[in-house]
Symmetry: none
Subunit: 99 residues, 4 copies
Amino acid sequence: MIDKNSPVPIYSQIEEYIRDLIRKGELQPGQTLPSEREYSEQFQVSRMTIRQAITKLVNEGYLYRKKGSGTFVAETKFEQALQGLTSFTEDMKARAYAK
Amino acid sequence: MIDKNSPVPIYSQIEEYIRDLIRKGELQPGQTLPSEREYSEQFQVSRMTIRQAITKLVNEGYLYRKKGSGTFVAETKFEQALQGLTSFTEDMKARAYAK
Amino acid sequence: MIDKNSPVPIYSQIEEYIRDLIRKGELQPGQTLPSEREYSEQFQVSRMTIRQAITKLVNEGYLYRKKGSGTFVAETKFEQALQGLTSFTEDMKARAYAK
Amino acid sequence: MIDKNSPVPIYSQIEEYIRDLIRKGELQPGQTLPSEREYSEQFQVSRMTIRQAITKLVNEGYLYRKKGSGTFVAETKFEQALQGLTSFTEDMKARAYAK
DNA sequence: GTGGTCTAGACCACT
DNA sequence: GTGGTCTAGACCACA
């Protein structure tokens, strides 16, 4: 799934891997992601690499983090992809979570 | 008052908040502090975070804890310097607790 | 070595265990301690319990922590008394860390 | 369910109440009990009273406690009541949990 | 891959 | 009903 010899940066590959799981619905909105440490072991890469991938997905609005609790799949992106525009309220709600 | 998005750790912010209350005299020597669980609810953080703040103030001699009773404002170094001598008993009591 | 049914808090037992290693010279000044997560596994207790033990030893000046690197044995008061003067630089370094 | 005006001590009433839940299978072996604080609120009694009740059930082998985790329904008593004697292995297993 | 911070609880010891 | 200890994790900042 992840090719360490690929010219594509590993964090991009992981980023794409997670984005796919969300798009395919294998990771549902509100659901907790595997922890950074789990991904770190699974892909045999450093936690920094995992964090790079996750941080991009957070910035893109796919995920949000809650310190001490975990990383979660956001509502917005999923609905945007599915339904086009989200309502103002939903948007604000998602942003609130992202804090 | 407390900014969860600040790079300053929450427990440091709370520590500073309580230290200020003492300095401004809103918390008087001998007075009982709100309980850890009350602060926990007030600031919407976990009790361990509150304990980190209070523990630092205990180590600095601003507060002392009494098991089963609560957390109290100590006879501070500041007041000792300002008001001269405290009574021997009070002094020993404060020192004992300050440990 | 650690008795979970003892009335002595586990963190105190671990604190004493590490202090002994230092006193007996099995942990030499400057040496890196096993990581908190290693101790956590070794003693089958949560990391927070290990941290309580280590934090006390840090406050007492036996150990110092370096973010991202590890926990190290300090140039102890004991050795300072025994060996006379340490170099100015080493001394300042130890004091800085001991804070 | 609990009668504060009864001559039967409140902790005995609570003890009996929980024992019944176990006997009726509403609390299954391995299951977590509601926390001391929850019971304390539910019955409007102090936590000491709850602890008295639970401690008796622990001593009788109906429950076991895991610090930091919770109080759980034991296997033994249930099986003893149902099947008479438990096997040596099961007994040891239950004792192991009780640690 | 370490230490730092934090969560959302739990049971324990004590007043 | 307080503070004390502890769990089983999580994410964060750094080297």
